[in-house]
Amino acid sequence: MTTQSNATTSRPGGATAPEVGPTSTGSKATRVLGILALAAVALLVLLGLWWTPADVIQDESVRILYVHVPAATLAYLGCFLTSLGSLMYLWKKSRWWELVGYAAAEIAAIFTAVTLVTGMLWGRPTWGVFWVWDARLTSTAMLMLLLLGYLAVRRLPADYHVRAQRASIIGLLLVPNVIIVRQSVQWWRTLHQEASLFADGPGATIEGIMLFTLVFGFVTFQLIFAWLLVHRFRLAWLEEQVAGQGLTAAIAERRAEGRSASGAAPAPIAPPPAAPSELVHRASTTGPEVAS
């Protein structure tokens, strides 16, 4: 991730001193990551669809689990990252971490949707219905709702700091909320001893090449997650850069408002600037250095 061009990025005029970030979301590292991910997906498809046998009980539909289980795990991982990013923003005011959290939340939402859909696709042949209120599906649905709440706040049309702070409080509470929800749903569904039909996941009987495929599925999804995360993070970073630019220009404009409004310029504090560039220079010496 070292191909940033430092010279062309300006810093946002906010209070935090940001590190210079990338100017495009692609880089050598992401290309390598992307190729690995694609290769892994190809391999997973081969493994999942051809090279592994059908399950004794679940028949062909077990293949969906190679996608469903990793997606679920990574959705929770993404949620954890969001909480971590929120914590770092609230604690250290780290804009970098906050953006990581935001990107992770979006990707986690996608993976949660994938989990829900694949869960339903698995459920149809196995249980005969698209949806059952078993512990895993219900918890995942709740995770989706919690993430949507976070994203709704994070995406409000408001100032960065307003959005980030409020979303971070929600984000920080994501992990405890998810834990409590999972716990309550699990107690609820297992206490009633619903039949083993609703036991979630493949269970201990998986072994051999099927186990390998499952683990490989984890690896594949991690690669996809990482690739998506890097790109989404960079995109968010650039979005914030664009939004934060122009503070010094805005200051100059604001001061000029006064001049034009009052007609003849009253005696200014400094000698009146002859050209706009001087105004920018003068304004820039009052604040952080602007890369010109």
Partner: protein, 222 residues
Amino acid sequence: MWHDALLVAGKDLRLEVRSRVALNQIVPFALLVLVLFAFALDPDRGLLERATPGLYWVAVLFSGLLALQRAFTVEAADGNRDALRLSGLDPAGIFLGKAMAVGVQLLVLEVLLGIGVAVLYTTQFAGWPLLLATVGVATVGIAAAGTLYGVLAAGLRVRETLLPLLLLPVLAPVLIGSTRAFEAALAGAPAEGWPWVGLLAVFAVLYILAGVLGFGPLLEES
């Protein structure tokens, strides 16, 4: 902090006494919800009876949402947020005060709904210790979480639609827990219900902490 909390709680409750919004609007709404459930679930008494705990708590949640919206509407008016920030009140105290006021209103609501349920659904109450403990702990949790998310949504213009979206998924465990506890109490098997009270207590503690720490920053504009 406690001085400020009691001051704010007193102010909010005094506001309620003078304006009677909860009494005139929220209580009837809660009872209306109970009646609507009876319409939706068919006068088949067996069905209503079995579903009573869940219906009760759903009615509590929806009415609670209204009470929370109201608690922040009064602060949204005319520069009151500025005045609160300038007042010198400890933000943690403001949080506790508002949560306490909402909690008191919720308790009154729950008692009235309990009467409503006893009358409309002919519920036989049993297992009082468990029932009371559940109501107590659940109310604390709802009030604390609601006040935290309420102030979060309060500064934003989309407050009315945002608060339910944020709060209801968070309160889902409270719904599950209180309903199960009530079921256990009514079925005469309270031993099954107490673990749920434990879960509700954990939830309440989490949100009291989160509120005390987070209310201050959220009260600021930016």
